[in-house]
């Protein structure tokens, strides 16, 4: 069975400093992996996805993630946080069917 674990429920950074949001997956098969962002009172929006091509994936708004099979990880990073990055971030996994499984989410706080 597939599962997704987001290691931090909350992350707080200062504006202009790097962001790291951690995600580990568990799957019997090579999954497709996704990061979604959810701003207050908004739907989830795709940031980036990994689908067995390049292991370093670049997404929107300067975010990127690296797929590491040996560590079963897909951590999300950004070199410099902006106030507008404050939101809830969800890591998700799909092992090739129709069911996408989501982690519990990480709330990112950005301090001025």
């Amino acid at each position: 069975a597939q599962s997704v674990t987001q290691l931090d429920s909350h992350v707080s950074v200062s504006e202009g400093t790097p962001v790291l949001l951690r995600c580990n997956y568990s799957s019997s098969y090579s999954p497709s992996l996704f990061w979604y962002v959810q701003h207050p009172n908004k739907g989830l929006q795709l940031l980036l996805k990994y689908t067995s091509a390049a292991t370093l994936v670049k997404g929107i708004n300067g975010f990127e993630a690296e797929f590491k099979k040996s560590e079963t990880s897909f951590h999300l990073t950004k070199p410099s946080a902006h106030m507008s990055d404050a939101a809830e971030y969800f890591c998700a996994s799909n092992t090739g069917g129709f069911k996408t499984i989501f982690g519990a989410g990480t709330r990112l706080f950005v301090k001025a």
């Binding site: 987001q6 429920s9 497709s32 996805k49 067995s52 092992t95 129709f98 069911k99 989501f102």
Partner: protein, 119 residues
Amino acid sequence: GAGVSQTPSNKVTEKGKYVELRCDPISGHTALYWYRQSLGQGPEFLIYFQGTGAADDSGLPNDRFFAVRPEGSVSTLKIQRTERGDSAMYLCASSYDPVAVGGITGELFFGEGSRLTVL
């Protein structure tokens, strides 16, 4: 519209009442999903439609929950005899290509959700 539309955005009801939540997917998307998101949690899969048929309803918590998509476009999630534990955000998503081809799957396009509060 350009995106997934969900109505109502907010619904407050009393325990025991019947509720319908509507989802209008992106035009041309054959796949439609319902998820439930409780406070502080990630979206939890409820049901998936491919066209008019429910291809997988294994996530529906019990027989009080039912969903339809009669014409392969708009879907309605129906909850009978609501309970306080049903209070959550109900999210709808649609996509082009739900079935994996060589491990490649498409992204989900989400609506803004319907927040249900059962008093």
